[in-house]
């Protein structure tokens, strides 16, 4: 620790801190325009200058490290004058179009000018007259207002790992722009907008919609992925009109991705349900709540009486709150009398949970978003974490920047592979073989923790289980050259601290239960614990839904049995889920849904599934109700009602309570706090943690053959999440259509044109999509994002039940 004096006050700060950090930590403000806590010191704006005793020159506080006994002054007449001059010079070029600038009222330059400047300037200079870049979908750049602090450039390059923009040129002519002055085409995370101290970067959907001082800011939790970011929403007239991250706030510490920042507007979609709907002929008729609930009550009772409670099932939602899912379970148990309840997590998170139970005997993994930092070696298995959990993904990039050896095993080129120390471009779905191969090397070379491993049962089974996975065989299966495989494996095994990370999501088909088990085996063998295996839950409340008991009950039926089996249920109650689009093997699901005697869907919009329903109930969205999300780290976070609703939507838990009453049951839950008290009383059963090796084989998915020669990889895009985000207008401006990504070589082979239509067929069905030619996928594989309902990509997919990755083989045909 170092002791110094700032403005006569003695402060103690850690070694290596800068004067600015020391001041901020002690509540002393120093004006600045280019400082950002997340970035390395830059020293561009010269506003943070301070006087240091014994130094003739003024020093930039942001880039001067503190020394013992330093005496710093941050406010003196000399400093006032220096800052005044800097601002005066900035204002020579700045357009002063504040009356029409969205930033006015929250502009750092405006605030500082107010504090330091007079109305007269001693200088005359030119203003810039660049065209405003209005061409890009959601981010607008006005370089005339730019003060060249370079914050956006550094946020984009250093923090986001993108580098879409940079400072071009020199002197007065310098400006911030994409590489060749083209229209901005990037991830559209919008981090640059939050970073910009002036109005040079702005949100297009927000443009001209309000003056800053009319906005009311409310914090809420993001409704998309499992990271659980805190987003600050700006409200006007009861409506969210902008989202932003505030430095240091929440798990995300102010970082947001494109979905969090721009994707909130799905709740204002014109297609929101306003009243309950009851099927009538081929269409629906509007109904009152009373009418709809009584209709459901009557129907469900009749089905229960005729076929028993076991003929009724329910599907919950990882997008709904803990309270909503708890109430659905309570409704099924207490009112219907059935344990048939499950969710889409069956296809993703359930596999992670199964592996965690089998390998570590734990209820859940200790997921920690800071876990990548400081690890010597990190191995990512076929997971594009920067798309599925974007803000968490930043920590992997940061770890690599700070010296971690980042190994990314992935077929596709992603942001992670571009930033990797070693990219292992394996064949799709072969991660299990790769991991087994590393385990074999660990045994052969003695590179494992003999003492710890010998205390875990199943060690000899494991060494037997991997004995066939020679480097030669692994190289044949994965397509990675033997040398690179062996060197990378040894580098990982010899590292002082290690981490493996992977995601298993509903829409990803390159991993299965076996992949997770193989990763756990490897870590246990080398003496690492469960904290070294980072497999996060997928959506905003996947964790909460699962751990509040929404998996199938011990006696109940799971989704596979309810929808895919011979003997499907007769009636289904679906809350906030769209199985017709998001579940694998869509044709089978569609058939099952159409075959039901009675289907109730409660959702915020008329989804593809809701269109098949007998009764549709309008639910309140996440921003229109109070409740709880539990993020992938297991942290409970409250969501709040911050937006007014049009029409008559009701929170999901309330719909279910009202329905229970309509069926003649008093289930309590007078209000949300009574319900929360009830949930808090439930104690989760303690588990005895027991570690076991579970040797697994690499089982190929559908192997490409002469009829279906290509392997289809399905997955997530950075701008979309499940089938929810496609309802957002802003996100649809960036990407609104499904596409097939295909390599140059395959495009030539199959006569596919860029942007031309192709028919993609698997053994289960076929779909029509546009092609995008890109060598981000190698020859032999194609990539399809699953988000877009109209494309029905899940017509091509299938279930995996044996621990393998549910890869599908497809053929393609260019449409003339």
């Amino acid at each position: 620790m170092i002791t110094l004096t700032i403005n006569g006050k003695k402060v103690v700060v850690p070694v290596g801190a800068t004067i600015l950090e020391a001041a901020l930590q002690n509540g002393i403000e120093i004006p600045n325009l280019c400082y950002d806590k997340r970035l390395s010191p830059y020293g561009a704006c010269r506003l943070c200058v301070v006087e240091v005793e014994g130094q003739k020159k003024l020093l930039a506080a942001c880039s001067t490290p503190v020394t013992e006994g330093m005496e710093v002054k941050t406010e003196t007449p000399k400093l006032f004058k220096a800052r005044q001059t800097v601002l005066e010079l900035l204002l020579v070029h700045h357009p002063l179009d504040c009356p029409v600038c969205d930033k006015a009222g929250e502009c750092k330059l405006q605030d500082l000018a107010f504090k330091y400047c007079s109305t007269k300037s001693r200088f005359k200079g030119e203003k810039k007259h660049e065209l405003v870049d209005t061409g890009s979908p959601i981010v607008e750049r006005n370089s005339n207002r730019c003060i060249l602090c370079g914050k956006c450039v550094r946020v984009c390059g250093e923090l986001q790992g993108v580098g879409a923009i940079n400072l071009l040129g020199r002197g007065f002519a310098s400006k911030i722009s994409p590489a060749f002055e083209e229209t901005l085409d990037c991830e559209f995370c919008g981090q640059c907008i939050d970073a910009c101290p002036v109005g040079a970067l702005g949100s297009k959907p927000y443009k001209y919609s309000s003056r800053a001082w009319f906005l009311e800011a409310h914090d809420n939790i993001c409704p998309y992925c499992g990271v659980g970011c805190t987003v600050t929403y700006d409200i006007r007239d009861g409506k969210i009109i902008r989202a932003k991250g505030i430095e240091g706030k929440g798990i995300n510490e102010g970082n947001l991705c494109v979905k969090g920042r721009f994707g909130f507007d799905f709740i204002y979609s014109k297609t929101r349900l306003k009243t309950p709907l009851i099927k009538e002929g081929d269409g629906f008729k509007s109904a009152s709540w009373e009418e709809a609930l009584n209709h459901i009550a009557k129907k469900l009772k009749a089905i229960k009486d005729a076929n028993g409670a076991d003929a009724i099932g329910a599907i919950g939602s990882p997008r709904c709150t803990v309270e909503d899912n708890f109430m659905l379970r309570k409704f099924m148990k207490d009112v219907i009398g059935s344990d048939n309840i499950d969710s889409s997590a069956r296809f993703g998170y359930a596999k992670i949970q199964r592996a965690v139970e089998m390998s570590f005997g734990l209820e859940s993994l200790p997921v920690d978003f800071n876990s990548p930092l400081g690890k010597e070696a990190i191995l990512i298995i076929e997971s594009d974490i920067t798309s599925t959990h974007p803000v968490w993904g930043l920590n992997f990039l940061k770890a690599q920047r700070k010296g971690s050896f980042l190994i990314t095993a992935d077929t596709r080129e992603t942001k992670l592979t571009r930033h990797s120390s070693q990219w292992l471009r394996l064949k799709p779905g072969t991660g299990t073989a790769l991991l087994n191969g590393i385990i074999k090397i660990a045994f052969d070379e003695g590179l494992y923790d003999k003492e710890k491993a010998s205390r875990i049962s199943g060690l000899s089974f494991l060494s037997d289980g991997v004995k066939d996975y020679t480097s030669k065989k692994v190289s044949d299966i994965t397509g990675i050259s033997e040398d690179i495989f062996i060197n990378t494996a040894k580098r990982f095994l010899k590292a002082g601290s290690r981490l493996i990370s992977l995601t298993i999501g509903t829409s990803e088909d390159t991993k299965g239960l076996n992949t997770a088990l193989a990763a756990a085996n490897l870590l246990l063998l080398i003496g690492e614990g469960p904290a070294s295996l980072q497999m996060p839950a997928e959506y905003c409340n996947t964790f909460g839904m699962w751990h509040q008991g929404l998996r199938q009950g011990r006696s109940g039926r799971d989704i596979i049995s309810m929808l895919y089996g011979e003997d499907t249920v007769k009636a289904l109650y679906i809350m906030g889920e769209n199985p017709a689009v998001t579940f694998p093997d869509a044709s089978t699901v569609d058939k099952a849904l159409r075959g039901l005697d009675f289907l109730v869907v409660q959702d915020i919009m008329l989804t593809e599934t809701a269109k098949l329903a007998d009764v549709v109930l309008p639910a309140a969205s996440w921003a229109e109700k109070d409740g709880t999300f539990i993020c992938a780290e297991g942290i409970e976070q409250k969501v709040q009602k911050i937006s007014q609703t049009e029409g008559e939507p009701v929170p999901d838990w309330q719909i279910l309570r009202n329905l229970s009453r309509a069926m003649g049951f008093e289930v309590g839950a007078k209000d949300i706090s009574a319900l929360q008290d009830e949930i808090n009383e439930i104690k989760t059963a303690e588990r005895t943690a027991e570690t076991i090796f579970n040797p697994v084989e690499y089982i190929p998915g559908e192997v490409p053959d002469a009829d279906y020669p290509l392997t289809m990889i399905t997955g997530n895009l950075m701008q979309h999440s499940g089938a929810l985000s496609v309802m957002s207008r802003s996100l649809s401006h960036v990407l609104a259509d499904a596409f097939l990504q295909i390599s140059n070589a395959d495009a030539e082979k199959y006569n596919v044109r860029d942007e031309g239509f192709v028919k993609v067929a698997s053994r289960r069905g076929s779909v029509m999509v546009k092609a995008r030619i890109s060598d981000e996928v190698p020859q032999g594989s194609v990539f399809l994002p699953v988000h877009f309902p109209h494309a029905k990509i899940n017509t091509l997919t299938h279930l995996s039940l044996n621990g393998e990755a549910p890869l599908s083989a497809v053929k393609i045909e260019a449409v003339k």
């Binding site: 580098g163 923009i165 071009l168 722009s177 590489a179």
Partner: protein, 149 residues
């Protein structure tokens, strides 16, 4: 060119540090840095294209416009200026139609005004491609340039 960039990469701690030498290699190869040349460098070094363009547009020794077969770099800093560099500049304009930053119509010469060449004792001085010429006069400059076709 890619092979050369690959070799240079090994000498630096990271690829960003190899950017300047890599740009020199590309410029030597193509005569100037075209859009494609910059993209190729970005690709070879696994750097964002904006970093490459940003760097190339900052330094005056990188040419972002097509250049002639021979590049004249004339110094006009203080010693050269006192001893007549400005007259030489006018001469290039009158006789060859060559303006600073420009190229002759026949593509034979390009002219760049460069900062101090370090030949103050023998000013005025210029570089033609990589050859240094000192003690320039209105008479000998024509003779020198005659050697370059």
């Amino acid at each position: 060119m890619l092979k050369e960039i690959e070799d240079i990469k090994a000498k630096y701690p990271d690829t960003r540090a190899a950017l300047l030498p890599a740009l020199y290699i590309a410029q030597k190869e193509f005569g100037w840095l075209s859009l494609d040349a910059m993209k190729a460098v970005a690709n070879a070094l696994n750097l964002p294209e904006s970093d490459v363009r940003g760097t190339a547009s900052f330094y005056s020794m990188f040419r972002l416009k097509p250049a002639g077969r021979n590049l004249i770099q004339l110094c006009t800093n203080i010693s050269c200026m006192i001893l007549g560099a400005e007259r030489l500049r006018d001469l290039l304009k009158d006789r060859y139609g060559l303006l600073p930053g420009g190229t002759t119509e026949d593509g034979r010469f390009s002219l760049v005004i460069m900062e101090c060449i370090g030949a103050c004792g023998t000013a005025p001085a210029m570089l033609v491609n990589t050859d240094l010429y000192e003690n320039l006069t209105e008479h000998n400059i024509a003779e020198i340039l005659g050697k370059y076709k």
